[in-house]
Symmetry: C2
Subunit: 205 residues, 2 copies
Amino acid sequence: MPTNTFFNLPPPKREKLLQAAAAEFTRKPYGEVSINRIIQAAEIPRGSFYQYFSDKTDLFRHVLRGYDRQLETAVSKSLDLSGGRPLDLPLILFDLVLHHIQENHDGFVQFLGILRQNLGMDAGQLLNLPDIMRQVWHRADWTGLNVGSQEEQLALLDLLLSSTGQSLMAVCCGKAAMEAVRERLSTKIALIRRGVEIKEEPATC
Amino acid sequence: MPTNTFFNLPPPKREKLLQAAAAEFTRKPYGEVSINRIIQAAEIPRGSFYQYFSDKTDLFRHVLRGYDRQLETAVSKSLDLSGGRPLDLPLILFDLVLHHIQENHDGFVQFLGILRQNLGMDAGQLLNLPDIMRQVWHRADWTGLNVGSQEEQLALLDLLLSSTGQSLMAVCCGKAAMEAVRERLSTKIALIRRGVEIKEEPATC
DNA sequence: TATCTTACATGACAACTTGTCACATGTCAA
DNA sequence: TTGACATGTGACAAGTTGTCATGTAAGATA
């Protein structure tokens, strides 16, 4: 956690440091990030940096946590747009985030740039995805779905959200074309929706 | 890619270097891995190392590729055990890998230790998971499942394998108890099997 | 056998990196 | 004015990486 000294900093100085940090984390994977470059860009002396943050991890965590909120907001907004229906959430969230990226809304480009550089790395641990999932769970509308138990509901959300995250990552890494990834995500949802096993139709007549 | 010089090395020397590297990669995340420590442990001079590998990434790739085969074998074996049925693959693969870990079979502990240290990082890019998926796709038995198109089949395998991988990671990172993770995975498969949407039963009678 | 050629081994080196610490400079209360 | 304390600062030790000139060994050639 950053020190109080950091939070007491005059906002412009603080912002400049955070901007420099975000830029560097976007440019290089965690291991190659140079505190030297950051403090040069932010024009603060070396000693000061260590008065604000205990080390690189501390800085990284703080930078990511800033974006964490934005992700939470995006999910929340998507949940509204999807009318609370879990199965509709993934594609809406996918589109929303990519739209944000295109507009560089809230610095989303940087956010995903950082995640891209640090593929999974600590992202899963640093971002509090469990929190986000719990929030979705509370607000979800389960009518029309035969997922009764809480365990089933959480498992379903886990499936849906991790698939969405995986898809977004794939796009941001340039591993595949956006259209193809979206199509694949859509197919997955369809499978989950209808189930893949052929049912024995009981001959009721 | 390692140089020919490396492959021409007397096997004991080569093994010692690889062992030292694997140990270091298990101990520290990629960014903190020290080539210094590796060459000290392997008792080779600094210059020699750079005659074998172009840099740390080169070494990392080569170490991981060794384990890649083992993963492929594990998947292949699981596919046999599951009779080629995609829906049965995840839990069988999950159990098989964890069993291997408990027995430290084929150095699986180290393998997952490395992945744990580098959570996702390049793992997804360095391990050729697409290759593994294609292999599974070729050998899968689709009878009893209503996934007709190739796109649907691939999407299903994607869902199943990524869920399995995610579960294994969760266990290896100690994020959750093995039993809970296995239960969650099992629930997910069940959902995918039967589908989550309530069907309108056409009143045929 | 003498010599040329090629492959490989080696550690000193420059150019970085990080975190610390003794000291300088502010700022507010008494 | 004087202290007490928070904050700013850059030189520093100890570490890192990749390079490169030089040394050595082994094979081919004449």
